[in-house]
Symmetry: C2
DNA sequence: TACTGCGACGAAAACGTTTTCGTGTTGAAA
DNA sequence: TTTCAACACGAAAACGTTTTCGTCGCAGTA
């Protein structure tokens, strides 16, 4: 095991100065051709690679971006990471992935770790607990220190920064409109509690669609789930004795739980009840019946987030300082959990 | 926007030297109580946090570990990352996640990025292309430079390093034995091509189980799939006109494709054909019928890998230099895609 | 011969830390 | 009064780079 090669060692070995080595490797015309070739040959032969940490310290930039997500065991976030990685790598950046586990404290901790020089900026989707608390001081602090920040998916208005979101309202509306077009009259909504922005917005879309079609909003047909844990039981309880012919669920899991419950009640999907989910994951594709869903294009969200961040990083700070919000369009993917449109 | 606070700035502001500040903040007894308190109060008030990069350079360690995985949109890998993150964070480490996209070149590139000082060591699962090529020079080089390396899941014997694997052979054997116990006579295997180690090993387990039960191995009942892309069609073709009553698939997707095909042929799962998969993902749990699978405990693999790596990092290099291989046990999770045992 | 200019290279600062080794001041012991 | 330890602090090196600014020798010019 030989320790890493450094400029200093090369310099000593070749009996030149450190600066000469550095310049030679960067093809500076200051260095005579002969010496330059000799140094480059040596470096190549012994596989010299400059030390990233030293470069980071010198340049005061790390060429690294951080992404903090609430949970990784979740297809949507996974596709987002994938998108971020893709464009980051294309632009010569590395990606630090951190998990907040939906915990406020872990989110703050992660931000502190990443903010102390490890990254040039970050991409974040808020932890559930953070949204619930409504405490965003850590974000503000980071921005204040000149750390560019891009929020995606679970965002919040209070923070002035770049954002990448989907049109949750329109997405929800599209889904419900589709159900209505299929002839559904009694459409239930299975959503999350309101402090999760996406739940709130999709609920909004649901209501909008109903209103636009002159259907009365029946709060009894709306279920708001707090905990993922026993969502299945809650959904079962909720759908018991309700005569619904359409269900819009704000994620895959709720949708599938709904289908199971419905089937257990002896009804058929989609013949008796049509079901639409949100987020286009593996489950939606391969479940039987396969799920009609509102696709979120996580990969695209990741790509856009990374692009936005890197763009900000590589611009002189004050050149043109305003914040963008990019809205990634949703798409209704129709499969077999809904009747065909009339 | 105020730039980051540094020791130097504190020193200037308080009219003391940099060393005094540093020592005061680290509670050195060298510094008088009064000055110490003053400095600490100032630092706290202005929220001073030492610069990680500078620390890394000084200490020649980054407190960061890298993990390179073939693909992230894959439940198993996702749970592994989760496990790595967990113990890494507990031990005060950060995690760099990189994706090789199953490409040899990207794997090499990623390693180079991470090896140049950015991380203290890494955890890796080989890209498919790498295993196919059998070119491991980048791994050897890293090890040679003193970079601890832990290989997991997709490992290779040629490399001397710590490893975390599951007992693929035993796992496969367990699954097939279970099928036999359920009364299956004609058991098909849907696997991957042999250069993917896990495919090879699980195939091995399949054969062992048959041999031990005096069942003849019929190569016609073995399918090896190269590309994920059109695996569904291949499986359909493969199962056509075969009278099998049991299927062992080396992953969820193959298992589900098999079930679909079987159902389309008018047969029932599990009444006519029992199916067992590998990897315990969301799909297995929620598919109908829910899948009996061999669970890999990805989270545990991640935890073990991280522990192994960090242990090596925090030990003096030559103290006790041998390599461990940890075998994480598989577990057969029985659900509804298999008949009950006789 | 003396000056200028240039080619080829080195010294040193800087990035932000930690740490070793001074060094100046004080108070007390001799 | 002198000497010495203890105390409180500062200077400087080091980590590995890049970059600015010398500096040295030599050839060409006046």
């Amino acid at each position: 095991m030989k320790p890493k090669l450094t400029l200093k060692k090369i310099a000593k070995e070749l009996e030149v100065s450190i600066s000469t080595v550095s310049k030679a490797l960067r093809d500076s015309p200051e260095i005579g051709e002969e010496t330059r070739e000799k140094i480059k040959a040596f470096a190549k032969h012994y596989n010299y690679k400059p030390n990233n940490i030293a470069l980071s310290l010198k340049n005061r930039k790390t060429k690294t971006i951080g992404i903090i997500i609430p949970e990784i065991v979740h297809h949507f976030f996974t596709t987002v990471i994938s998108g971020v990685e893709k464009v980051a790598n294309e632009m010569g950046y590395n990606v630090f992935v951190c998990l907040s586990d939906n915990s406020f404290d872990k989110e703050v901790l992660n931000m502190e770790m990443l903010a102390n020089g490890s990254t040039d900026g970050f991409i974040l989707s808020l932890a559930k607990e953070t949204m619930q608390k409504g405490d965003y001081h850590h974000l503000k602090e980071a921005i204040n220190q000149g750390m560019p920040l891009v929020l995606f998916d679970r965002v919040v208005d209070d923070i002035a920064c770049d954002k990448v979101i989907i049109d949750d309202v329109t997405g929800g509306k599209k889904a419900v409109q589709y159900l209505i077009d299929c002839g559904c009259k009694n459409i239930a909504l299975i959503s999350t509690v309101d402090y999760v922005s996406v739940g709130k917005l999709r609920t909004h879309g649901y209501k909008q669609a109903l209103v636009e079609n002159n259907i009365e909003i029946n709060e009894d047909l709306i279920l708001k789930i707090e905990e993922m844990e026993n969502s299945e039981a809650e959904i079962e309880e909720f759908l018991k004795n309700k005569k619904v012919d359409g269900v819009f669920a704000v994620n895959e899991h709720f949708a599938i739980s709904a289908i199971k419950t419905i089937q257990e009640q002896g009804k058929k999907v989609p013949e008796d009840v049509s079901v639409i989910g949100f987020t286009d994951g593996e489950l939606s594709k391969r479940f039987i019946p396969s799920l009609t869903t509102v696709s979120q294009h996580g990969m695209k969200m990741g790509e856009e987030s990374a692009r936005l961040l890197i763009e900000k990083l590589e611009r002189t700070p004050s050149e043109d300082d305003y914040y963008k919000t990019i809205i990634v369009e949703t798409e209704l993917v129709t499969r077999n959990s809904t009747k065909s449109k009339k």
